[in-house]
Amino acid sequence: MTVVLEVKNLQIAFGGVKAVDGLSFSVDAKEIIAVIGPNGAGKTSAFNCITGFYKPSSGAVLLYGQNITGKRPADIAAAGVSRTFQNLRLFPDLTVLDNVRAGMHLYGGQNWLDAILHTPRFKRSEAAYTEEAHHWLDFVGYSGARGVPIRNLSYGQQKHVEIARALARKSGLLLLDEPAAGLNYTEKRDLLDLCQRIRELGTAIVLIEHDMGLVMELSERIVVMNFGKEIADGTPAEVKANPAVIEAYLGKDDDEEVSARGDA
């Protein structure tokens, strides 16, 4: 198994708050890993450190063994990390298709001179962009209008577009920050299915999620954080039974909040 991502002893603090305080985990190819933990545990901050939006104060992030710690987001993205955001970060005035095309920026295929001269190369690459965009929208099961600006979409629709955009990046690692938030039961089932199909593309997934049903069913391993620290790392079954995790996060009455239950 090749190791895709390795996070070693990551730390970052804001003022007095140690948002991430010594996080370490690694992700193998095609693996799906969940990061869970109470609100404010530092999950999103960890994502931000990995993707270069925050500069970690110490620790290292290795992608395919190559150190990417502290590089700027665009370089990390180019190195092969793709992500979605907890609060949607789409381009609201642009069309659905353009939003997905954003994920294909690194494909290249044309330069500005091609564009000005409308060379055949340019036309070919534009056609390819559009075709790919439709492909990824179909892949995530998006059935809404595609030529309209993102603003006109409901929240759930936007979530799908964001995933399509991230997939269009075709990178080996996908970080999803709470993809199921705001989705109802049926939609979560679709998401589950989608993640499995993504894995089949050869992409490893790290997802932050609060929906335990989804997490338990989907992930091979779960990293649990609390107050920036890692309090557990193991299989779903191990984590579920871990008293510290129950205490800090799950609560005793574990099936209460699970809307997408494992046995569904």
Binding site: F14, T44, N48, F53, F85, N87
Partner: protein, 297 residues
């Protein structure tokens, strides 16, 4: 040297007073109100009209008369600001920000050439002129009118700062600037608060206009243009949208200009001032007091 600092401080307080209105309006509706300098001009002309219609004023009364005229002018420019917002800016709520900016330029043209059509394009000598004892302090010549004007300016600024920082209307202003729809859900009458902001900002500019008329002695229909740009600059140096920053920015700009003129000669003063500004902003991209918005991703 002391003279230099004093002169910079004095001009700077004019900049600051106008920058305040700029910054307030910017803070709340993110509008670079290019017509703001023209409100200052309007204030001066209202003062002029009031004074000439009253007729001769005994020189001894000039400070008192000035204060009264200033109040009248503040009231009227404030109202003008509210009207302009109503008619020209409010219909553009929710429109792209630059659209409002262009409207503001249109308003600026209208004010300038409207006054020029009404009062003629000639510069006018202001009917009262603040003249007073000059004394020398640490080698700098300082005049009584300068001190009085700076006191008035400082007082207005302190009041305003209190209003914005400590009252609930002030808090509402800041809230609107952050998220207008969420402010609506707090029960904030957004229209009313914006109107108030325009009133206050414009009244301050009006006060500055009267003060400038009385101190410098000349007013004309284009007098707001350059100082408007300066105030804009000052507001940005201070951290646009930030009230204290605007005051500070005004004073800093006054100093930088004074030193620029001293070191490089009058013709290079603005080049120096802008170069300093650019350099400064590259080092501190959000101005002196502007919040470094740690964007959460």
């Amino acid at each position: 040297m002391i003279q230099l600092i004093w002169d910079g401080l004095f001009v700077g307080s004019f900049y600051a007073l106008i920058a305040l209105g700029y910054s307030m309006v910017y803070g709340i509706i993110k509008l670079l109100n290019f017509a703001h300098g023209d409100i200052y001009m309007l204030g001066a002309f209202i003062g002029f009209a009031v004074l000439t219609s009253v007729g001769g004023i005994p020189a001894s009364l000039s400070i008192g008369a000035l204060l009264v005229v200033m109040l009248v002018s503040m009231l009227l420019t404030g109202t003008a600001g509210v009207l302009i917002e109503r008619l020209a800016y409010r219909p553009l709520r929710g429109a792209p920000r630059l659209a409002v900016l262009i409207t503001a330029v249109g308003v600026s043209f209208s004010l300038e050439y409207g006054i020029s059509a009404l009062a003629g394009p000639n510069p006018r000598a202001f009917p009262i002129r603040l003249e007073g004892n000059v004394f020398v302090l640490l080698g700098a010549r300082i005049s009584l009118p300068q001190i009085i004007l700076m006191l008035i300016a400082a007082m207005l600024m302190v009041l305003l700062n209190f209003y914005v920082e400590k009252t609930s209307t002030g808090r509402a202003m800041r809230a609107i600037s952050l998220d207008r729809n969420a402010s609506l859900l707090m029960g904030i009458n957004v229209n009313q608060v914006i109107s108030r902001t325009f009133f206050i900002g414009s009244a301050l500019a009006g006060a500055a206009g009267v003060m400038a008329g009385a101190y410098y002695g000349k007013i004309d229909f284009l007098m707001g243009f350059i100082i408007g740009l300066k105030a804009f600059t000052a507001a940005v140096i201070g951290g646009i949208g930030n009230i204290k920053g605007a005051m500070l920015g005004g004073l800093v700009l006054g100093f930088v200009e004074a030193f620029g003129a001293e070191w490089f000669g009058g013709q290079w003063r603005d080049v120096f001032a802008f170069a300093v500004l650019i350099l400064f902003l590259t080092l501190r991209p959000t101005g002196i007091l502007g919040q470094r918005v740690t964007e959460r991703v």
